[in-house]
């Protein structure tokens, strides 16, 4: 039960800088998901919090206490690893009790807590088995049990679900969330899976090339992505980006593809003719007889919906998601609703919000 503060955390491996100054405040009991593509520095950030890596500069504070220079053992944290990292020569009970034994708890107290935790996560009958006799999902549970039994200040999850099959992953995801809510332990969860990120996190940190591109609630990130990277990363299929220019004194965008669309939420600052990137999610695109002709190239029927890939007359690619079955080829007239547009500066990709009046 604690807060976590990261202040300007930087990390370089030799000449390669992987973290360019990350700031983060995690409130007590909050579940923060760090999401990003591989190599974005998310695992390094987690390992710095754990004390398995040392930050090149910056500070880590747990419950206000400076832990930057402390060993993992002194930080009172628990971590669930991607490959579970169970101790292969110990039984499940010994695995879970290891941390307590090191803290010098009496034997009967350890046994009592192991039994209680095993009950909580549903591995009671497995206590005498060794890790190699367990299935992937069971190992995952033991790893969870080993983390929660110590009642640490902080839970760290390093892609714990990525070795599980799809069905189990969904199940464990829900279970982790339930458990975390119930125990109320502040948690950091690293994943590259956006669905995991959206469903698990109170707030998300979208990492991109060593920066925290955006820190916000899942819905805020979905509805108001801070830049084109976040916009493209969250949402499936990913957001379409079309080139355009600011027009009508900031009131509208003139798309390269043809139409001029007035902004639904007010004018953007900047001179007319400023290059923009317009984002629109595939599911927000409507069919409209008066719209642009989309030449279809590929249709992906998914049952409840259909994903169509095509090209606009000016050659720009566009993906459309329709509910129900859709056409397989030919052309499709599509319209971009003004209220669904995301406006980004073409230069740098930052989000442009309506100018304050």
């Amino acid at each position: 039960m604690a807060t976590l503060d990261l202040m300007d955390v930087r990390k370089s491996f030799g000449p390669t800088q992987v973290l360019h100054g990350v700031d983060l405040h995690v409130a007590d009991g909050e579940m923060i998901v760090i999401v990003g593509a591989s190599g974005c520095g998310k695992s390094t950030l987690l390992r710095i919090v754990a004390g398995l890596e040392t930050a090149t500069s910056g500070h880590v504070r747990i419950e206000g206490r400076e832990v930057t220079g402390l060993e993992p053992a002194d930080r009172d944290i628990a971590m669930v690893f991607q490959n579970y990292a169970l101790y292969p020569h110990m039984t499940v009970a010994q695995n879970m009790g290891y941390g307590l034994k090191i803290r010098g708890l009496p034997r009967d107290e350890i046994a009592r807590r192991v039994a209680a935790t095993a009950e909580l996560i549903g591995i009671g009958p497995l206590l005498d088995r060794r890790p190699r006799q367990l299935s992937g999902g069971q190992r995952q549970r033991v790893a969870m049990g080993r983390a929660i039994i110590r009642e640490p200040k902080l839970f760290l999850f390093d892609e714990p679900l990525s070795n599980l099959d799809a069905k189990l992953r969904v199940q464990m995801r829900a279970e982790i969330r339930r458990l975390q809510k119930r125990l109320g332990v502040t948690s950091l969860f690293v994943t590259h899976d956006q669905v995991e990120a959206m469903t698990l996190g109170d707030r998300l940190v979208v990492m991109h090339q060593g920066h925290a591109a955006q820190v916000a609630t899942p819905m805020e990130i979905f509805e108001r992505p801070a830049d084109t990277y976040v916009a493209g990363f969250i949402g499936s299929p990913s957001m379409n980006f079309l080139a355009g220019r600011l027009a009508e004194a900031g009131q509208a965008v003139a798309l390269e593809a043809g139409p001029v669309i007035r902004f639904a939420d007010g004018p953007r600052p900047g001179p007319d003719g400023m290059p923009l990137t317009i984002g629109v999610r595939p599911e927000h695109i409507r069919l409209d007889a008066a719209g642009l002709a989309l030449a279809l190239e590929l249709a992906e029927p998914l049952g409840s919906e259909t994903v169509l890939h095509g090209r606009l007359p000016n050659g720009e690619a566009l993906v459309v998601k329709l509910t129900g079955p859709g056409p397989r080829d030919g052309t499709l007239p599509v319209a971009l609703p003004a209220e669904a547009l995301h406006v980004f500066a073409a230069d740098g990709g930052r989000r442009l919000d309506p100018a304050c009046d």
């Binding site: 398995l52 628990a78 991607q82 990292a85 101790y87």
Partner: protein, 293 residues
């Protein structure tokens, strides 16, 4: 594994097996069989008369207090060599495992002693421990500690243990290093997060996970100390002073080759053969059955 090769005729498979069988027969079964046969014979010193004596060579052997001394020597020697060689190799492997920069160079240097012939290794140790020409030997004597492994039996034992263990450290080191590197890093990190410090991690995680390697090396080192240390002992002490460093294998050589008592020497060889068969059996039985992580 159900990959059977089917031969059209019966002859070819036997022909293919023949070279291996011939080598095993000529170089192992024949001499071993001869040793067993000689163990039941007694020959006079000139090799003119040979009589069958049954188990007398063996009963004589175990009634001989000097042979019992040799057994004791061998026990001390092999225990010393095994523990020393394993402990030093494990220490070096742990250090080498931590080392990141220059690791290959460090490892190569540590593996070198294995490539040195036993006699040359012994000469190196003479240059270190000889009371009048050895570096350490002279330093000890100059410091007022009387040191002469050619006169003092315990010191002689110490020197042959050191020299023999040193030879074996490289071999053990390679296996320990491989064992250490096969321990998943995440497991050690998990232990660190669970609150275990380096020493604790070593004894509760690393050492148990290395136990299959350790057990394998234990048997290999015992076999080495029993049978492969002849060269080192011969070059350093020749079993002396006063038989203080005479091990079973060395005595078998002395009795057969120097004292020309072929019957007794063969009986000793048979005893040694039984020991090696036992050690190998233990190894197969337990190493195969042991849990491999």
């Amino acid at each position: 594994m159900d990959r059977k090769v089917v031969f059209n005729q019966k002859l070819l498979p036997y022909l293919l097996l023949l070279p291996q069988m011939a080598i095993t027969l000529v170089f192992f079964f024949w001499p071993a069989g001869q040793a067993v046969w000689f163990a039941f014979l007694r020959q006079d010193a000139f090799g003119i008369r040979t009589t069958f004596v049954g188990f007398e060579n063996f009963t004589d052997l175990f009634a001989d207090p000097l042979y019992l001394d040799t057994i004791r020597n061998t026990a001390v020697f092999s225990t010393g060599v095994t523990i020393l060689a394993l402990a030093v190799a494990l220490l070096l492997a742990v250090l080498a495992d931590r080392q990141i920069r220059g690791a290959t160079g460090y490892r190569t240097l540590l593996i070198w002693p294995y490539a040195i012939a036993p006699a040359i290794a012994a000469v190196l140790w003479i240059f270190l421990f000889h009371p009048s020409i050895g570096l350490i030997g002279r330093a000890l004597n100059d410091a007022g500690l009387p040191f002469d492994y050619k006169l003092n039996g315990n010191q002689a034992m110490l020197v042959v243990i050191l020299a023999s263990a040193w030879k074996q450290v490289s071999y053990n080191f390679i296996f320990f290093l491989a064992g250490l590197q096969s321990i998943p890093k995440a497991v050690l990190e998990a232990a660190a997060i669970d609150g275990a410090r380096a020493t604790r991690r070593f004894w509760t995680i690393i050492f148990p996970l290395l136990s299959p390697t350790t057990f394998f090396l234990l048997v290999v080192n015992l076999v080495y100390a029993f049978f492969d240390t002849f060269g080192v002992i011969d070059a350093l002490t020749k079993g002396g002073p006063a038989k203080a460093t005479e091990t079973l294998i060395y005595r078998a050589y002395v009795d057969g080759r120097v004292n020309l008592d072929l019957g007794s020497s063969s009986a000793q060889s048979v005893v040694l053969m039984i020991v090696v068969i036992l050690l190998t059996a233990i190894q197969f039985r337990y190493v195969e059955r042991r849990v491999h992580y």
